[in-house]
Symmetry: D2
Subunit: 305 residues, 4 copies
Amino acid sequence: MFHGVVPPLCTPLTEDGEVDTASLARLTGFLLEAGVHGLFVGGSTGEIAQLTDAARDTALRTVVATAAGQVPVLAGAIDTGTLRVLDHARRAQALGADAVVVTAPFYVGVAEPEVRAHYELLHKALELPVVAYDIPSNVHYKLPPALLGELAQAKVIAAVKDSSGDLESFQRVLDGAAGSGAGVLTGSETLADLALARGADGIVPGLGNVDPHGYVRLYEAARAGDTDAARAEQRRLVELFAIVEVADRTRVGRMSGALGAFKAALAARGVIAHPYTQAPLLPLTDAEARTVAQLVAAAGLEPVG
Amino acid sequence: MFHGVVPPLCTPLTEDGEVDTASLARLTGFLLEAGVHGLFVGGSTGEIAQLTDAARDTALRTVVATAAGQVPVLAGAIDTGTLRVLDHARRAQALGADAVVVTAPFYVGVAEPEVRAHYELLHKALELPVVAYDIPSNVHYKLPPALLGELAQAKVIAAVKDSSGDLESFQRVLDGAAGSGAGVLTGSETLADLALARGADGIVPGLGNVDPHGYVRLYEAARAGDTDAARAEQRRLVELFAIVEVADRTRVGRMSGALGAFKAALAARGVIAHPYTQAPLLPLTDAEARTVAQLVAAAGLEPVG
Amino acid sequence: MFHGVVPPLCTPLTEDGEVDTASLARLTGFLLEAGVHGLFVGGSTGEIAQLTDAARDTALRTVVATAAGQVPVLAGAIDTGTLRVLDHARRAQALGADAVVVTAPFYVGVAEPEVRAHYELLHKALELPVVAYDIPSNVHYKLPPALLGELAQAKVIAAVKDSSGDLESFQRVLDGAAGSGAGVLTGSETLADLALARGADGIVPGLGNVDPHGYVRLYEAARAGDTDAARAEQRRLVELFAIVEVADRTRVGRMSGALGAFKAALAARGVIAHPYTQAPLLPLTDAEARTVAQLVAAAGLEPVG
Amino acid sequence: MFHGVVPPLCTPLTEDGEVDTASLARLTGFLLEAGVHGLFVGGSTGEIAQLTDAARDTALRTVVATAAGQVPVLAGAIDTGTLRVLDHARRAQALGADAVVVTAPFYVGVAEPEVRAHYELLHKALELPVVAYDIPSNVHYKLPPALLGELAQAKVIAAVKDSSGDLESFQRVLDGAAGSGAGVLTGSETLADLALARGADGIVPGLGNVDPHGYVRLYEAARAGDTDAARAEQRRLVELFAIVEVADRTRVGRMSGALGAFKAALAARGVIAHPYTQAPLLPLTDAEARTVAQLVAAAGLEPVG
């Protein structure tokens, strides 16, 4: 289940801050047509941390309905503590998710035995497979590669999504999980070809919302052993990734800068209706959005439909 | 409303991980009898980040009912994004809280204009006063003193709870909020006398669960201008605070170490039935709990009732 | 030897980047006339990290000659490794310093036993007393209060200069060193009154270059038990300390911002000839320097001589 | 000049802490025989931060004499401020170094314009080429890829040594320096094959002291386009790199753990006489050194000579 290109879907919003289900269905269809291998709803890029429980559910319901079983749907169950995560995960299970994606506990610092207990408790309480999500920039804790290896071998986790940006550590996760059957996915937009060359099973690129065809080509080339083609595609995507640097960072944080650019690009391509972001995240300014649209056009990405 | 000793209540649990409402009511009564001036339900010490929404509500309902209007009840509305906080705050409002306590957004990094928007949106949407909660160790963002001053002067926030441990910054918050009517509270267990000498309106000490009488004496002495008495009481409490260092920190995180010690001490004093903590936080070992009990006894704190 | 107001002297420079010995002698005389109790040459504020060995020596020689035994002269021996520090300390000893001030090792991370070995080796090899200098913002390591207490009790260190800004930890250093005879000094410009109230022996304020009379008054008031007078003086100095916020921080770092302001203020008061800073540190712009001069005048500080 | 395998030489010491010139000459010869393309004296691994100026000079003199012009010798000029670096660089120039390696300023925080000024001033003042050394773990500042690109294009720097461990940023350095003629070297022991595949000109691996033949094979395979052979060699070296995890990290820091292991391995192979480290760094315990020796033997590395 855990392989290939699995974009973390943006959550398009209406002017009132509600989930724009029509745009979300359109985005889902756009990704499926591009040939992605899975859909990840409710990641950081999906503004999971800003959406209410009701909005989280609406987004998941929409994607599950549109995907209609064509590819697996992974649902983020992101919260500060184990039982809070469990509540989200059970709702995701009821709504038809195929797996849940879970970070280490955050807000209060924890030690490794507590992180281990967190995943073990969730594994026991759930029927869905659990994907461990390593994203130290948000959680302020790096999941230890050795722990991930042990949890994979013990079948406590079914996959790892590594958004640490640290390839040395990623290699250790790959080695530790080898033979366990657990999938190992990278969240890197810009090192995906190297991660695949090292043995990653798949990619979860935020930029994959904007250019899913590019990441599918990259993945297929890597899988076919054509490292030159994979690298060329990667280089093209690295250039496109410059859109996340457009926003004025004294006005918005890193997340708004990236997410706002993805949404502006999707609006420019006609995939979603509006580039609104959820409070307190601020969207790009009009001028910034125009710059993003120019970069998107310069990358050869055309309006859809 | 925002002055004096306002302990952040621990949330006692049953063996099954449910809120132990009888123990929580007993703890509430214990604090009221000691003369505290407010009650803070759902802080970090209250395991807000580990409790489900249902458990958060049970805890708040229990304390509101026991307090019965004798002192104000502040409720933590701690979550990653603005609308998620708003959901919690509305539930707290419905359950009878007198104010809500709100951190900066967390999990995704934000810039100052986004933090400002966060508090402004909450202020507009709520009837309850909003207390800004500065706890960089958990949120990984320090609320800028200048921003807090502006929000206080604009009546967007009604008080500040400063758990940053940084007295230089605290002084700037005091100066910035001066004349606004906003309360300025320190979360420091060990510098409370200095904070009060500098003009703090109150204290929110986690250790106040264990020794509320001590903090009430400290506060009254400081208020009466008796700095020697305040300091002597503070020194005694600093020694007692050593209980948070008892836990083996390779086994548990900083939070479990502090919280586990508070609960072990409260159990040793007979205020609560059990020292259980909520997953994934681990309680002290039996040996550690015995050490805590000895330190509590050595500080002259006797079993209650 | 380690008590009272001990300013960390700025190192005035000529346009060519040489030590301006005439200005430095004038600054030394200015401080002595104000009644300071010691002189600290070669601290961070003295640009020790930017000065060549030759320039370090010139600065120390100048101050020792001007002080002529009226007050003790402490010399920074700041470098990355133990033997490098030893070389500096021996030169300082030969030049007439009364003590050397030494940080934990930096550049490569070390563990506590290595820090202990560092101070023990220096103590054994030197005849001068060693002052432990805790400045985590520069060294990226916080000297553990318990270790400082042990080193003080064992007479390995003769004093502590705490520039951590953390009063909770400072209290633990005071407690740990109590009875050892070691001096405990704070480097805080803005919490000096509180540190003295808690038992500090002295103050090492960078801002003391600019307003030594204010810090001497603060110290004398605190020593006489007049906390109101000490606090009033402190509040005045806190306002003056705003000069360190004048510089545009996208152009220069925190250090240049503070140091550049001290030098601009000293030039405005006529104590030193030029506000130049040592490469790569950049001085304030002319406009920034004028703002500093206005703040200095607004604080009632007049040109000297 | 800046390509291939350029190991950062360990500095062997006698029991008295002096540079063991016989062992250092032997190490130099061992590396040359293995076919390395350059020698880097005075890096972090060379204990530059712990060696006195005299010892730094002795080490450089020894290696220059032994190398006798067969390959270029790079000399670290590592210090906190620009003029201090300049002093070291001029001595290195006089001693026959072919280039100097320079970090951003450290100890006091600086802004980007100050870092730029630092390199520009050094470039103007020196005849030797300057290599920018990006090692955020030690310097606590990450050299911005865009700045490195600009400095390379302007011929201010002749090469970059990237020890940041961040391949995404490394790619941006490669892109930014493309066409400038500047060499781009990675300091990564474990991602060297990927860095070379991405276009790196060379490798500066600390582990290259222990197994220079392995890194030369890896480099030659990568250069010949044989990515499978490069990767196989890399995997073998990753396993050997486990020696840096042997030390008890409550006793010593990360640097002592790595460096102590390299020296223990070199002693086990008979290349150097003793595994002593320079104060305050502590060597491995005897038991740890035996474990390292076993790992070295298990990797098929035999005693030399």
